[in-house]
């Protein structure tokens, strides 16, 4: 079951890369980012994590991984992070919200829509977390170099 999910997340990430014209030499790495994101996203609930926490952590992992891959392969990190977050997209939550709105269940619809927005916010803040960790690390390194020079 998990293996099937991994294969599917790899397939959807790679397909998304083709849609966005990602360079050929980075396409496998971008698929790997999607697989790692999905792995974290599906393993964390086993240890009792909520959907928001697991989304946040997996988006952060994807973002960190894309920063590292962008340094290794020397390409912009957008190449990896765009494809990597695809398995985390809250598609079914958004669908449930729309279904509830159409069935005149506005309270249920707003509940589901709020959940969708929260998950989207978790993806956003996870991405931001990953970017800022590496920025802080870089800043600390340069600060260290400056201190040595002075």
């Amino acid at each position: 079951m998990l293996l099937k999910g991994l294969a599917l997340s790899f397939a959807s990430s790679v397909a998304w890369c083709v849609l966005f014209n990602v360079p050929v030499r980075t396409i496998v790495a971008a698929g790997l980012a999607g697989v790692v994101g999905f792995l974290v996203y599906s393993i964390l609930p086993i240890y009792g994590a909520e959907v928001l926490l697991s989304t946040f952590v997996s988006a952060a992992v994807v973002s960190l991984l894309s920063q590292l891959l962008s340094i290794i392969l020397r390409v912009p990190s957008t190449n990896f992070s765009v494809a990597g977050i695809i398995p985390l997209v809250p598609g079914s939550l958004a669908y449930k919200a729309m279904l509830a709105f159409v069935n005149n269940d506005y309270v249920g619809g707003i509940t589901q829509a709020t959940k969708t927005l929260m998950v989207a916010g978790a993806i956003a803040s996870g991405l931001i977390f990953g970017i800022s960790v590496l920025t802080i690390w870089k800043g600390a390194r340069y600060a260290g170099k400056r201190a040595q020079r002075d």
């Binding site: 397939a11 966005f20 020397r74 989207a120 970017i131």
Partner: protein, 249 residues
């Protein structure tokens, strides 16, 4: 070094990045780096999602130019190539003429993957995302076809409609109609799974990621405008889904 060539190179690099879905902070940084490496003083660059302004001082004269980029697509390969060129130029491996020529070549480049492969990729993405959302093997093929229809109609409608959000709305509507038709013919399939998969090619992934990175870089205007772009896309897809679902009541 002539200041005209520096200006042309910088603006070409910047407009390629912006036209093909790069972040505005990357546009600004690349232009400023090239201009500084070419020996210009007092370099200032500013980019919004639709326009670029670059200004610098060369032997006592100020030069400022602005370009608009009204039409935007997504081609991350070109951004990577421009990134390479600017690294090589700043590192001193190529001179300005070579950089300008390479940038012109990059600007003329076609998409690396042919059209049919992109449509196939949209189908694959939709099918596998539908199965990730809890579908069984039976729903793989219909959602893949629905994703294909969404992507195809998005591409062809764009040529006639020329309005991004209405194109997305109509593409979502067509994909949803196909899902509805499939479920009517084969009642054992789940409508929800097919629709969730079909809408994936419309997901504004690049707008969301770029908006976040622009916001992080302190570029609030660009970040907010991209965020609004992503939200409008999401809302038009959601309304199309709601219209489709209202037929099933």
């Amino acid at each position: 070094m002539s200041s005209d060539l520096v200006m042309d190179t910088c603006l070409l690099a910047g407009s390629i990045i912006l036209k093909n879905g790069g972040e505005t902070y990357r546009t600004e940084e690349t232009m400023a780096l090239i201009a500084k490496a070419a020996g210009m003083d007092d370099v200032n660059s500013s980019a919004t999602p639709t326009s670029i302004i670059l200004s610098f001082r060369c032997s006592g004269f100020d030069h400022t130019r602005m370009v608009r980029t009204p039409k935007r697509t997504t081609n991350l390969n070109k951004i990577t190539l421009v990134n390479d060129v600017s690294r090589q130029f700043v590192g001193g491996k190529i001179n300005l003429e070579q950089a300008y020529r390479t940038l012109r070549e990059i600007d003329q480049k076609k998409q690396i993957y042919p059209k049919w492969l992109q449509h196939l990729a949209a189908a694959t993405a939709s099918g596998s995302f539908a199965m990730l959302a809890g579908g069984d093997w039976g729903s793989l093929v219909p959602s893949a076809i629905a994703g294909l229809i969404v992507n195809l109609s998005q591409e062809y409608l764009e040529q006639f409609v020329r309005m991004k959000f209405f194109t997305e709305f109509s593409a979502a509507l067509l994909g949803g109609l196909f899902a509805l038709l499939t479920v009517t013919v084969f009642p054992q399939l789940h409508l929800s799974i097919i629709i969730i998969g079909a809408m994936l090619p419309l997901f504004p992934g690049i707008a969301i990621t770029n908006s976040l990175r622009d916001l992080m870089a302190g570029d609030l205007v660009a970040g907010v405008s991209r965020g609004v772009e992503a939200m409008l896309t999401a809302v038009s897809v959601a309304v199309a889904t709601a219209i489709i679902l209202s037929f099933t009541r």
